[in-house]
Symmetry: C2
Subunit: 319 residues, 2 copies
Amino acid sequence: MADLPTHVEIHEEGPREGFQIEPGPIGSADKIRLIEALAETGLRHVQVCSFVNPRLVPGWADAEAVVAGFRARPGVEYTGLFFNGNGLDRALAFRDKLAIRGSISLTASDAFTRRNLHRSHAENVAAMRQHSALQLARGIPVNRIGVMAAFGCNYQGDIPPAQVIRTLQDGLAIATETGADITLFSLADTMGWATPARIERVIGEVRNRWPDMALSLHLHDTRGLAVANAFAGLKLGVTRYDSTVGGLGGCPFAGQPKAAGNICTEELVLLCEEMGIATGVDLDALIEVGRMAEAIVGHQLPSELIHAGSLDAFRRKAA
Amino acid sequence: MADLPTHVEIHEEGPREGFQIEPGPIGSADKIRLIEALAETGLRHVQVCSFVNPRLVPGWADAEAVVAGFRARPGVEYTGLFFNGNGLDRALAFRDKLAIRGSISLTASDAFTRRNLHRSHAENVAAMRQHSALQLARGIPVNRIGVMAAFGCNYQGDIPPAQVIRTLQDGLAIATETGADITLFSLADTMGWATPARIERVIGEVRNRWPDMALSLHLHDTRGLAVANAFAGLKLGVTRYDSTVGGLGGCPFAGQPKAAGNICTEELVLLCEEMGIATGVDLDALIEVGRMAEAIVGHQLPSELIHAGSLDAFRRKAA
C-alpha cells in the first residue's frame, strides 16, 4: 500500500449525470436542493448541470433556472457541462457563479462517435479544433483532453491502448494548433468496459508516453467493477476521480437503458478513507445526501452503502 | 499483474444464501431449477441448501425436498450447510448426492457470536470442539476452519488482525484436540467491513503465521467494495472464493434488512476472466441464470452485470 496517494480530488457529477438520464420530470427546486446539500458534505467540485440541447436532453431544459437558483458555497467550485459554442455561451452567462473550464473532448471509438455525435472521428477532430479555438477566443482556458470509451465500446468492442494514445495525440495536435495548454488527460469508461487489468494497461501506456501529465478517471459501474477499477487507479497513483452521489447516472446514448450509473461517490469515499487517503468528505453527511437523491428520483439507486450505512456509524454504536 | 493466479475455484452459494433470506415463499421446484441451471454453466461447486432449524430459517424448511429433487450433474460437487449434529445427520441422509465436508466455524467477534448464536466465544469454542469430534466420529473429514466477521463487525466495530489470528489459533487447538487435519482457512466478511487495505493486512498477518495454508474468501457486497476486495485477494494469490449468482443473499442476522448480498458470481467471473484468470464458467450462460434467479425471487438483484450484459456479447455484435 506504500504507493497509494495521500489524498484524492473528487469531482461530483451526480446532478449533471443523474438528471440528464432520469425519466423524471424532476423539478428545478429538487435539483437545487441536491446541489446545495452536496456542497455541505466537504465536496469541493460539483458539476451542477449540462448546457445541452433541451430537445435531446429534456432533463436539462431548466439548466439556467437551476444555476440561477442555487446558493453557492464559498470554497466550492461549480461547473456546467457544454460541448459546443451554444452551450459555452449559455455557461458564460453564469461566469460569476460557475468555474468555466474548456476541454477538448474526443472518443477512442469511431463507432461510438458516429452513434453519439453522428460524426466520424475525423469530423469530430475538426469540430473540436473549432471548439477549442472558440473557447480560447472567449477567454476560457483549455487545459483538458477528455477521451470517452477509453476502455472499450458497446459498438466497437475492445479498444486497444494504442487507440487511446492516438486519440490523445489527436487532442494534443488540436491543442498545438489552437494554442491550448493541456495539463490533464481525463479517461472515461463510458460504457463500463474497464477492468483493473485494463486500467493498468491503458494508464501504463499513457504514462510511458506522457510521464508528467495529470490523469483523471471517469468510471461507470455498468458491470459492477467500478470500485475495483478505482482501486487499481489509486494503486497507480491516480488522484482525480469523477463520481456521482448514490451512483446516479448512466449513459443515455449507449443503448443500455437499465445500465447502472457512475461510480458511486459514497463508495469511492469509503474506499479511500478506509485506506488512509483523504477525500475531505464527511461520509455520513454524504450518505444522507445519497438518500435524499434516492427520494428525489423516486426509485432505488445503485449505491449499496446508502442502504447499509457507514462503518463509522456502526463504530460509534459499538464503542 | 505478474503475481496473479492462473485460475480460481469458485464456490457458488446462491441457492443456500439466497433462499435463506428471501421472504418468499419460494417453491422447491424453483430452487431445484436454479441449482440445475447453475451446474450447467461450468461451476464445479454448488452449495444447494442449509440444514438449519426451519423455525429459525423457514426458507430452508424444504432442504430435504430440494436435495432429493435436483438432478446431479457429474463432475459438479454439491454441498449443504450444517452447524450442528442435527444438521449433519440430515446431510448424511444424502451422502450419495452431497459432498459432506466438516468444518470448525468460529467468529472473530464475540459480540456477533452472542447475537447470532446466543453464546460467548468460549462457549462457541466448546460447542465446536464437540461438533468437530462428532463430525470425525461420523467419518466426515474436518479440514476447514471458518472465521466469520474476520474484517469487522456491526456490533463490535473494527476487528484487529490479531483477533483473527487468535480465532484461528482457537480453531487449530480444537483441531489438535479432536484429531482434525486442517488444510483451509476461510475468512468471511460477514457484515461488509472489508476494504482492499484490510484484506491485505489480515491476509498478510495470516500468511506470516501460516505461510502454506490455503485461504478462501467469503465476501459480502454490503458497502459496494466486494469486487475491489476480491481483486485485492487475487493480487495476493488467493485462489478460492465463495459467491452467489445475481448477488443473492445477505446476512439475516446482522441487523441490516436492506443490505446487499454476497459478491456476485457473474461480476467475480468477469473480473477474473478479463484478467486472464480461468474460472471454468461460461459467463453468458451464468448471466442467463442470474436473470432466472431474479425472476424466481421476483425483485431486482444487486448484480449490475446481469442487467448490462457481458462484454463478449457486445464483442460478438461489434465484430
